[in-house]
Symmetry: C2
Subunit: 204 residues, 2 copies
DNA sequence: ACCCTCTTGTGCCAAAAGTCACAGGTTTTA
DNA sequence: TAAAACCTGTGACTTTTGGCACAAGAGGGT
């Protein structure tokens, strides 16, 4: 399991491989479990070896998706916290049963200047996250919700089907269930999709 | 001028100082000049030694502020581009006459693993920008425009006064001039500020 | 079969934000 | 100093989004 991770991230230095094996732990988590909670200190960097984690911000009853962590991805905010002790400003919850690699923060920090491949990993994580977030940011600023919803469905579809409830979509897009229901109805009337129970089929 | 920069960023390695002096150029730019244009390739990392630069995204007639670059700050997106050749997705325009330090991208990339202080500079730039952007993102998602406007004024005030037109505020907050005018009127009626010509005085 | 929870649909109304149109200031500049 | 360009205010209207209430359907478990 770790080998696959080392390979995918192109971590080739034997010393670094050894350090990771020695200092990292592997844990399993079921759907619904919190990996990171808002306002808690971050002690370990978590890398998703398998499964899916949803990272979001909340405010009162609303939520908004920051990003999903898929296989071989790490939480950029945790990574950031490795460079300066700080509290989390987000929540992370397991969406699909997952296996995590946990690396205590002090190593993450040291390795950055010690191992070239770790340095690249760090920089790339920041870069990709930053670009992704800017993109989401301007979508949020410029696009009407209807478009954001449709784009989101397209991006999340597997074989043109999205298996999510309206409530889940609402939370990911930072709005309420009724609004999503109505917009979906409009999209259906527009023949852009077909609605089922917890199942949205994209057309064409 | 460069010395001040080296000192502020705690760049202590003599070799790196030497490299910067040798390879970087200094340029001056007047208000209104474009530093970076959307869709252009990024060839040099620009660091603001003096002055102020506004970095924003645009869509049709609308704009939205990504961040301001103040003294001794660099454009995170340019920094990112140093690690992979790519086009800019933003515009950067000079707001206050400024002096820039220009470093060709290939150096920026190499120095990251070669000089510890440069590595720290890079990581810190990414970290701070990322946190800032997440903060803006959830404001955009959760806060009504009226609150965003007021918070923005507070953050931009010098001695409780903001010297900006409604049009400028609209562009920075991603909305239209009329909306800003009306919200400002409400805030004035609410005794939170007093309106003048291109001048908004915050009260209390 | 029955209960409970989750899911979806929708009517009605309110608030927030955007658009269009126009009028009268102020500042810049030629 | 007169024209042009920018700045502010505002009425009237539309669209978008949100909040509340209620009803009906689906699905799971005991």
């Amino acid at each position: 399991m770790i080998d696959k991770f080392l390979h995918q991230l192109r971590i080739t230095e034997p010393e670094l491989q050894e350090e990771i094996r020695k200092n990292a732990t592997i844990t399993e988590h079921d759907r619904g479990e919190f990996i990171i909670k808002n306002n808690n200190y971050i002690k370990v960097l978590k890398i998703v070896l398998e499964g899916k984690v949803r990272v979001y911000q909340e405010s009162d009853e609303r939520e908004i998706l920051i990003y999903y962590l898929n296989t071989m991805e790490t939480c950029t905010l945790s990574l950031s916290a490795c460079f300066e002790d700080c509290k989390s400003t987000v929540n992370a919850i397991v969406e699909e049963k997952c296996i995590l690699l946990n690396i205590p923060v002090r190593f993450v920090h040291d390795w950055n200047f010690k191992y070239k491949s770790w340095n690249i990993f760090t920089i790339n994580t920041f870069r990709e996250s930053y670009h992704h977030l800017i993109h989401e940011y301007s979508n949020l600023a410029f696009q009407p919700l209807k478009d954001r919803l449709f784009d989101y469905l397209v991006s999340k579809a597997e074989q043109d089907i999205v298996y999510k409830s309206h409530q889940e979509l609402a939370k990911e897009l930072g709005t309420t269930r009724e609004v999503i229901s109505r917009l979906l109805k409009k999209l259906e009337a527009n023949k852009q999709l077909r609605l089922g129970q917890k199942e949205i089929q994209l057309l064409k």
